[in-house]
C-alpha cells in the first residue's frame, strides 16, 4: 500500500513538474512579465491558472463522490473558513517574494532538477522561511 502511495505521489510530482515547465512557470522572467503591469504586460500565465482551475474544479467534484481516496483512509480537506490575520499577512509576504523573484514554491523545486544555482538558493531560502514559520506557529 505504501509503495503504491509513493508511486502515485512520485507520478503526480512528475506530471505537475511537466505542466509547470510546459506552461512557462519555470521561467521567472515570464512570471515577472505577468506580474509587472508597467511596460508590456504578458497575460498568458493567467490561462495557466485558469486552465488548472477548470480541471480541478471538475475533477474535485467527481472525486469527492468516491467513498474514499485511492491511497488514504479518508480525505484531507481544509475545514477552516475564518479569514485570519496570518492568512492576510502570509499572503502579503508571499506576494512580495513572488514579485521579487518570479518563483513560487512548485516551479522553484522543479527547477532544482536542472541544478541551477539560482533555484538552489531560492529553495534553500524557501525552506528557511518554512522552518521559521513553522517554529513560530508551534510556539504561538
Amino acid at each position: 500500500m505504501n509503495s503504491k502511495k509513493n508511486f502515485i505521489a512520485f507520478f503526480s510530482g512528475l506530471l505537475f513538474a511537466t505542466g509547470l515547465g510546459i506552461s512557462g512557470m519555470t521561467q521567472p522572467q515570464k512570471v515577472i512579465a505577468f506580474l509587472d503591469l508597467v511596460g508590456t504586460w504578458d497575460p498568458s500565465l493567467m490561462f495557466v491558472m485558469g486552465g488548472a482551475l477548470m480541471v480541478h474544479f471538475i475533477s474535485y467534484r467527481i472525486i469527492k463522490k468516491w467513498r474514499r481516496p485511492i491511497v488514504e483512509e479518508s480525505w484531507h480537506i481544509p475545514t477552516t473558513t475564518k479569514i485570519t490575520k496570518p492568512l492576510i499577512f502570509g499572503s502579503l509576504l508571499f506576494g512580495i517574494g513572488w514579485g521579487l523573484s518570479g518563483f513560487c514554491p512548485g516551479p522553484a523545486i522543479v527547477s532544482l532538477g536542472t541544478g541551477s544555482l539560482k533555484a538552489i538558493i531560492m529553495v534553500c531560502a524557501i525552506n528557511l522561511g518554512i522552518g521559521l514559520g513553522t517554529m513560530g506557529e508551534n510556539n504561538g
Partner: protein
C-alpha cells in the same frame, strides 16, 4: 517526499529534453533571491498555501479563505514587480 522527488526528477528529465523551458534570463543577485525565497516560504506557511494550494486547489473548492489569499498575493506580487520596474531598482 515522493511528490517532491517527482517534481525534481520531472525538472531533471524536462531540462534534458527541453532545456529552453528553464531559461532564466533574470539577473537577480543571490541576496535578492534569498530575501524573496524567505518571504515565499514564510508566507506560504503562515497563510497555509501558495499559488497551487490557494490558487488552484482552494479556488476550485470555492474557499473564501483562498479567494482572499489569491487576491492579496496577486496584488502584492503585481505591485512589487511593477514598482521595481517603475523605479528601476536592480539588486
Amino acid at each position: 517526499m515522493s511528490f517532491v522527488f517527482g517534481l525534481i526528477s520531472g525538472g531533471a528529465v524536462l531540462s534534458w529534453f527541453h532545456p529552453e523551458i528553464f531559461t532564466n534570463t533574470t539577473e537577480f543577485s543571490y541576496l535578492k533571491l534569498s530575501i524573496a525565497g524567505f518571504l515565499v516560504g514564510y508566507g506560504t506557511v503562515i497563510a497555509k498555501g501558495c499559488t497551487s494550494g490557494h490558487g488552484v486547489c482552494g479556488l476550485s473548492r470555492l474557499s473564501k479563505r483562498s479567494l482572499v489569499a489569491v487576491l492579496i498575493f496577486m496584488s502584492t506580487g503585481m505591485l512589487t514587480a511593477s514598482l521595481i520596474h517603475f523605479w528601476g531598482v536592480k539588486f
